[in-house]
Symmetry: C2
Subunit: 198 residues, 2 copies
């Protein structure tokens, strides 16, 4: 079977999904624009199935306890050893809020009640959309989960800006701190130029 | 090569992604829980690549012109002949707002300026998240795109409730009309039990 890996100009290189074979019938695929479509897709050379690849949702939570927030130091790559709020890919079968609660439980062993959506940050260069929620910790109990080296409550004046894991995390927290100072949290809707290197 | 199609209990049947072969090397895959994970994934029997499947974002827009909104009558299955606001799967390389603007242009040939996020509605039973925006039409110009039979401006008292395409569309519009009557649009964050039959 022929391995086909064609780069199109319709979206950035970094996002091209590597697909050589049809996941349904195992035949080779060709990256081409199907009839009636306007974007190239991976199309099976045998069963003609069209394979669509779409952005993924990263559900995150800023866990709050009194006037502090809970951050995790990553125990896994990428960005091992750096800080983030709990966040991860949403799974099939859950809601966005459930995903944020689950990630907080898995990474920080903290139980939160989601109080609202704080930010929708698109990262078009890497095919991700961050949905960042605010969550009120039910108790001040927390502990590093298997993907965290350390979990700590930080005052907003003590956030470890120099050792944050991802630009999108820094950006969300920067806005959060500004809103907290201003005394009003509003919904943030924006697009960030994160590169895959981060 | 063996075709493997195992149903797990971790998420509803309707969402199981059919994957028989590794899209990278073409070998068979097994649906099992990888080491260090807690959910079953499709894992390649040869190259051991893990294939993740995640919810998809449907970006929608409620296009507004004065006190009317623009709806499209679907020219394609599913729900051919029924009404919806412009909405469709977000593509790689765009932001959520760009996806909503693009869908409005494609389905209704209408040019909108996004004014805010109106609703985030998770459909965990079918692995979709609707991000519904409000959009102000720049001009009262519109026309049926290739996926629409008809496009019309509706007063909020004339919405064709009996012939709406999807429950999630009815639900978003129901909330929209209630908010319009109350004189205040707030962000709606919820989870709906849409079934794949719709």
């Amino acid at each position: 079977m022929l391995s086909v890996w064609v780069v199109s100009r319709s979206c950035p290189d970094s996002m091209h999904v590597l697909m050589n074979y049809c996941s349904h019938c195992g035949a080779s695929v060709t990256h081409k624009i199907p009839l009636g479509d306007n974007l190239p897709r991976h199309v099976c050379d045998q069963c003609e199935r069209i394979h669509y690849h779409n952005p993924k949702i990263v559900a995150g939570c800023i866990p709050e306890w009194e006037d502090q927030i809970l951050l995790c130091r990553r125990a896994i790559e990428p960005r091992l050893g750096l800080w983030t709020f709990p966040a991860g890919f949403m799974e099939l079968g859950e809601s966005t809020e459930q995903a944020a609660v689950r990630e907080t439980l898995e990474e920080a062993h903290a139980d939160v009640r989601i109080t609202g959506l704080y930010a929708v940050l698109s990262l078009p260069n890497i095919g991700q959309v961050y949905l960042v929620f605010r969550g009120r910790m039910k108790t001040p109990v927390f502990q590093a989960g298997p993907e965290s080296l350390d979990v700590r409550l930080f005052s907003l004046s003590d956030i470890p800006w120099e050792t944050m894991a991802f630009p999108v995390v820094s950006e969300a927290l920067r806005r959060y701190v500004a809103d907290a100072k201003a005394g009003e949290f509003r919904l943030h809707l924006d697009s960030l130029p994160d590169k895959p290197a981060f």
